[in-house]
Amino acid sequence: MTTNTDKLLDVRDIHTFIGQFHILEGVSVSVPRGAITVLLGRNGAGKTTTLRSIMGLNQVTQGDITYMNDSLVGKSAHKIAQMGIGYVPEHRAIFKELSVRENLQIAARQKGDLENNLDFVFELFPDLKRLIDLPGGNLSGGQQQMLAIARALVPDNSLLLIDEPSEGLAPIIIQELISAIRTLAANKTVLLVEQNFRVATLLADYFVIIDDGHSVASGNMSDLHKEHELVQRYLGVA
């Protein structure tokens, strides 16, 4: 565990209910500044709920989340976003009826956000420039994913929460996304959820394994391939 590293986000033993179901029963994640951390675990383990709890979209009933020395627990989602956290949800929740331009415009929090960061966005995802006036719903799956990430890059966010970016995409597009996320991670901190173990290995510096609502293991990604038993038990990959 990297105890010395400066933590940008620290999730300590949180509990979250959805309706009457106790989904998170003690999840701790620390996200070092400037690195990519990945949440691993089976379907339904609570990875997405962890991201949503950080974002304030699900209510945390116990435990604490600190971000830049501020507690996020009990804050509403828009306040949390304004503190510099960008959220890229699963299934690429872009606005289908809005044009690509409007999808980016709506993400701007201050005057100049869009103008300042648009060049970087287009550099990362050149396709979007060409599609700028199309409705989001007309984009392919890969393009929608790029737009969803681009949207989180419009304001000056320090932390990005990205949920399953590779889900349902063709290998060649996944390759493109991997390099884009690597590029943007140069000056952003990223907390990633990724089912595709190969993609996770290529991207992440650190990992946290979540199983059945608990965080059960964490460490350096480069050490994980040695932990056969851990991988076998919680991730089911050989």
Binding site: H78, Y87, I106, R109, P135
Partner: protein
């Protein structure tokens, strides 16, 4: 399912065209191909359609954004009508006809007061009654029922149940214009014009301003909007308040022709619900087009029901149209297929 967005929209516009042509042809037949009769149907249809739009637009935006079907929307329309009526005619405790002798000014004052009161009552309902029930959409629905009962009874207690018909004569209500050899009150043209302006104005607001983009995004996914750092509840309150203000405005400008009656709210509410469902819930263009189609169909069937002396034909028209459209397109004209 299956059809992409363009195909879906094209189908919708095709259906709109078919319905419009069918209604207009039927209107021609019922007017025995005499253009002046046809003009009566046309003007009356557009007039009713625009008033419907004023109630339905708020209903539709609020439903799209917040998933609340505001059953009190009709009551806001009625409040507007009663206020405009009273501010034109009142001679009781406060004799406005003496205080403000010019009926034109009294009309303008009435409209402004109606808008302000409608906005205030809308704000109260959203901010103080609906917001605590944010996680329970069903209870919000019931609450709007309760509020509509309170408003209706409030009106009944203040103004009793006697229908008021507008008697005061003022400028544009008396002026005339002619279409296909038929004379009409300029006031009808005024209402139609105001309606068209609002349809365009709200469309521009939705397309061109940041608020509009946020509203359209909120219709799709309010949670994601808040995750982008936008306080979506403030947007809810604003849209709800504006929707109620527009409904009250509709009531105020309807009053010179329809007067102020206790059944006004229920009639307009039910017809507006037919409009927004027929147009496709959450779709602005659906609401606009739906209002015009229902208005024209209503006017045509009013004409027809008099000819065949079956009065019920006119009143069931919006419902019948709704049922027919839902049979062909379960998601309404412009609604998203799920």
């Amino acid at each position: 399912m299956g059809s992409n967005i363009f195909g879906g929209k094209r189908d919708a516009w095709l259906l709109v065209l078919v319905m419009l042509v069918a209604v207009l042809v039927f209107a021609l037949i019922t007017s025995e191909f005499r253009l002046n009769n046809f003009a009566i149907t046309l003007v009356s249809g557009l007039f009713q359609g625009m008033l419907l739009f004023l109630v339905a637009s708020g209903l539709s935006l609020v439903f799209g954004l917040m998933d609340i079907l505001n059953f009190a929307q009709g009551a806001y329309f009625m409040v507007g009508a009663y206020l405009a009526y009273d501010l034109q005619h009142a001679t009781g405790v406060f004799n406005i006809t003496e205080a403000v002798p010019d009926p034109n000014i009294r009309f303008i004052v009435g409209v402004i007061v109606a808008i302000l009161v409608g906005a205030f009552l809308g704000w109260v309902l959203e901010r103080w009654l609906l917001r605590p029930l944010y996680d329970r959409p069903l209870f919000q629905l019931v609450l709007t029922f309760g509020v509509s009962i309170i408003m209706l009874e409030g009106i009944r207690n203040i103004w009793n149940t006697t229908p008021y018909s507008w008697t005061e004569v003022f400028g544009i209500r008396e002026a005339q214009f002619t279409l296909f050899g038929q004379d009409f009150s300029m006031y009808r043209l005024f209402v139609i014009g105001v309606g068209v302006l609002l349809i365009i104005g709200i469309a521009l607001l939705l397309r061109r301003t940041r608020l509009g983009i946020v509203v359209r995004a909120g219709v799709e996914d309010p949670e994601m909007v808040s995750a982008l750092g936008i306080n979506v509840r403030v947007v809810f309150t604003l849209v709800f308040t504006l929707g109620c203000a527009v409904a009250a405005f509709g009531g105020a400008i309807a009053a010179p022709f329809l007067g102020a009656t206790i059944s006004l709210g229920a009639t307009f509410l039910i017809q507006s619900i037919a409009v927004i469902v027929l147009g496709g819930l959450g779709s602005y263009e659906g609401t606009a087009v739906g209002s015009i189609i229902v208005g024209l169909a209503l006017a045509t069937m009013q004409q027809f029901s008099i000819q065949v002396s079956i009065p019920v034909l006119a009143t069931i028209t919006p419902m019948l149209l709704l049922v027919l459209v839902l049979m062909v397109r379960p998601q309404g004209l412009f609604g998203e297929a799920r």
